[in-house]
Amino acid sequence: MSRELARLERWFQERMMSGKTRDASREILPSKTLAPHERLDIYADGYLLRLEEALTDDFMTVKALVGPEGFTRLVREYVTKFPSRHPSLNFLGRSLPRFLAGRVKFPRLPLLRSVAKVEVAMAEVFDEKRVKPLGEKDFARVSPKAWGKARLRFIPAFRLLELDHDVSPLITEARHGRPLPPAPRKKTFMAVYRKDVTVYRRTLARKPYLLLAALASGKPLEKAILASGMSDPDEVFRWFNEWRAEEIFSGITTRA
């Protein structure tokens, strides 16, 4: 590796990311029309604009909540703490919940945290690996006696969320560019998943959420049902058929 090239690249990147370009003439020539710092500013200005544009695509609701100026500030602070380390810009926002969980000052911060969790989950399942979901025939192969000990595997494009606000209506309206409805503080459970190429989010009642969470943690079906508090077999049957149709399961292990 060339030491001189490494030094120059670090110098350039530091100025571009910080926007502090006053000493540009140390390394950069003027053009006929622009001073060295004005030339370097083209990169510094473009850096934040590009990242903000990318984050806007994934965080429309966060942006709607903090407003355009607030979002610009949020992006600046976020990318300073969590600069991109991935080849694709699509992954830039994945640490936004961690950033918002830290010491930051934004209005309606608890609500922002709930919304960011959902918008990140939506981005993640959009990109997640594609695997063949279990079909009706796969389930039919399991003998009735084996079901109690059966452990279910989920497709990678599936996320379960526990939130402090009911944010689903808010996200729907923000993504259509419509006025935001109130999002009351309320313990809310949600599944975010991809079926074929479409991303869905479903608000869940407490018991179905606990059942999915227990299964996702690797508990066999019998123990998962107990953990969820579901006692009506019809309710469990209905629940199971519903989720099977949503193609969220990718495997069954029936060994003890």
């Binding site: 990147q13 053009s31 600069p83 080849p87 694709s88």
Partner: protein, 282 residues
């Protein structure tokens, strides 16, 4: 007119005229099946996404050749080459059967960070050795023709000891790689740095040109930004004609990334390149 059309270093199929594949046009392409030679995909948009992007790629790739164009290889970075990235790049190239793969003569970040910009290199002997070494590694891993694109740039470094065209030509010769000649970028940089674009093209080893890029830009008076946001201007078409007279007909692609119009508009702009090829290639 002309012409001593150069022999190709890389005998590849002439795919004709292509367009950069953009999400906005997915539905139109699948429904209307436009007559077009090929599409170019941004590699990073498909390497780590197996939802809708991959599904669209499979459907469109079943009908059209796909060439891969990357933005994060960071060939000029002094960070180590990202082998995991290269492995995924290779896997995608195998999956879509890309006839060749390209990226830019630039760096995108150091210290593990990615600025997602195509940053300029100082054109020094030292940087040249560094880039040549890395291109050879990339070619070995990809096992298919690889080309570097000349970038648009907005700064020149005091330490540069040669022109960009000379640097690019030497990288291509010494690493034995291909070139993606972006004629709009030549024009943009010539305006920003005050060099003669035809002299630049005269320096390029045209036998190594795998493909051309054409695009529109935004002229701010004091400088031009490569925005891919408009039609190709006449000066750029003239440079294209000048270059294809040297190279012969090569796959040519139109990029449009901002204010993207309907597919028909992009397609019609791309097809203009055929007229220039007919008029200027012997």
């Amino acid at each position: 007119m002309v012409r001593n059309v150069t022999r190709r270093r890389f005998p590849l199929p002439d795919l004709g005229i292509g367009v950069g594949l953009r999400t906005k046009h997915y539905a139109h392409i699948l429904e209307k099946k436009p007559r077009l030679g090929w599409f170019e995909i941004i590699s990073e948009n498909y390497m780590d996404s197996e939802g809708r992007p991959l599904s669209m790629l499979e459907k469109i790739g079943a009908r059209y050749p796909l060439v891969m164009h990357g933005v994060s290889l960071s060939i000029g970075s002094t960070d180590p080459l990202d082998k995991a990235y290269l492995k995924r790049l290779r896997a995608l190239a195998d999956r879509v059967e890309a006839p060749w793969v390209t990226d830019h003569l630039c760096w995108t970040g150091v210290l593990g960070k990615n600025t997602h910009d195509l940053l300029p290199l100082p054109y020094t002997e030292d940087a040249l050795r560094h880039v040549v070494k890395r291109v050879k590694v990339v070619q070995d891993l990809l096992e298919r023709p690889f080309g570097l694109e000349n970038p648009s740039s907005y700064v020149e470094f005091k330490t540069s000891s040669m022109s960009e065209a000379e640097f690019l030509a030497r990288v291509a010769e010494e690493a034995d790689c291909g070139l993606l000649l972006d004629v709009n970028n030549v024009y943009v940089s010539s305006f920003n740095h005050g060099f003669d674009p035809k002299e630049y093209l005269d320096t390029i080893p045209h036998e190594r040109v795998l493909q051309y890029h054409l695009a529109g830009h935004t002229n701010h008076g004091t400088h031009i930004i490569d925005t891919h946001s408009d039609h190709v201007i006449d000066n750029v078409w003239e440079l294209y004609a000048y270059s294809v007279a040297k190279s012969g007909g090569r796959p040519t692609l139109l990029e449009w990334d901002e204010n993207i119009p309907d597919f028909e508009v992009v397609h019609a702009e791309a097809k203009k390149a055929l007229d220039y090829q007919v008029a200027h290639v012997a």
